[in-house]
Subunit: 313 residues, 2 copies
Amino acid sequence: MDLLSRIKARETRAIARALTLVENGDDAFCAALDAEYTNLPHPERIGITGPPGSGKSTLTSALLSEYRRQGKRVGVVAVDPSSPFSGGALLGDRLRMTAHSLDADVFVRSMASRGRFGGLAIGSEDACDVLALAGFDPIIVETVGVGQSEVDIARLADTTVVVLTPSAGDSVQALKAGIMEIAEVVAINKADREGAERLEEDVKEGMELRPESARAWNPPIVRTVATQGQGASELAAAIAQHRTFLGSNGLLAGVRQKRAESRLTDLAGAALLDALKGQGRANTAFEGLRGQVRARQLSPRAAVKALLQQLAL
Amino acid sequence: MDLLSRIKARETRAIARALTLVENGDDAFCAALDAEYTNLPHPERIGITGPPGSGKSTLTSALLSEYRRQGKRVGVVAVDPSSPFSGGALLGDRLRMTAHSLDADVFVRSMASRGRFGGLAIGSEDACDVLALAGFDPIIVETVGVGQSEVDIARLADTTVVVLTPSAGDSVQALKAGIMEIAEVVAINKADREGAERLEEDVKEGMELRPESARAWNPPIVRTVATQGQGASELAAAIAQHRTFLGSNGLLAGVRQKRAESRLTDLAGAALLDALKGQGRANTAFEGLRGQVRARQLSPRAAVKALLQQLAL
């Protein structure tokens, strides 16, 4: 049986193998997966993000347990943005998730995303497709909110949960930087700590600053203590509310269309760069210009102008 | 007098204006700057990076004071990777640097880098060129080490300083993730805290794991207490040592060549993506395929293949 059939038959080892292939950007497998594209199921996609130390992984684990209680098969893609610095909590918390590791209706996968261009987005999209093919629903994508990744996750998910934690300064910072733009549900985790009340007020204030166009949906705020599983069912309920909102307003198709277009742009960007290193016309032009840049006869910017002209783009 | 001449004449307002123009990617100014490319001076470039909370900005400020004592004119580009989460210390510490704000021989500029593709690299390179034109030497580029940015800064700088702080877990994490690959000087900041000794040992151990090829240079480890200016002159000396190493081994030309090539690749990637949204052949092809993706008749990956074929790249 080929790999795709084995994935559809929900063979754990086949799924694991496929995820490794997409992580490595394996051309043959990506092409095979791609042939299924128009037939893929559309599981619910939930994004979970937040600052380092907010307990995202523990909360994901608690949410996972809640979905299991509801009898759902849950896939988790935990994306490590591969910084020397920001990887802090990932390893330990990943291990915690292995509480679910003997459960065949749960699949948890950590993925690195070292790639420069659209790395998180491209790899995770493919991973979500593999898990969709294997019948997991919902699929949770979790990543630390640093750099570009929180924008990527908002694109990947139908519903984005932003996890915040009461602690000095954090709230103000998060609100200031426009985090409300991506939050469809806000989880105040470690809500047994001092400051939860204030943080919730700050979040509410932040929401009032949202533009009119973003106000059709009012993000619920859920308090959780993930280490004790507290608030997990309320969080699941809030996510379901948002899902219902998307469905009943005909917005889901638009979300998916936008996602497909973003994926197209990411893949196109990566492919065009690859073409410069390839075997064709683009590479010939690029190599010539690169030599001139190396010899300092031409500036990089002038070389790029020449490149576009030579390729008549 | 045109803007470039005013920059060369070291007019503060002209420099500030130019930095705003490069931050916004202003085509006309970038082209004018580009015309100076082969004549630009080559000031020393120092990169300073480290995890959030390590005191990078305070250390940059201390180093800046040290260079001023040495009579140098110092330019600082502080790059904020613009995350909703990671921006923590930037604002306050930036303000601290305004201690230098009345000094005409110092120019400190904060830059955002929201751009998706090579954002930090492209904007900061241009900013460094502006400061070079204005005669600043050295130029310090400071950024928080999250996501891609610490790789970018290593490319931007002749000498990369990694700032670490004694605190539970941090050291091990940083070492594990290969931070030694980019560190040419290690600053152990807040060295009056408990754990500095252990961190230094961890860093040394990490260095022994470096590949043979990276061992021509042995990164000095400097202890600093940036808030009190302690260790700033030792740090400047360690940076100067590395600079001498690069110079005496004929490595500096290679560093600059590699940098120019990276810049070429970044600019090419951005320009090719722009071409998809432009007025030419690339856009015509892309728009047609985008429509099919939107209608779910074609997968994004298949569309990209078709795009490359249509453009004959």
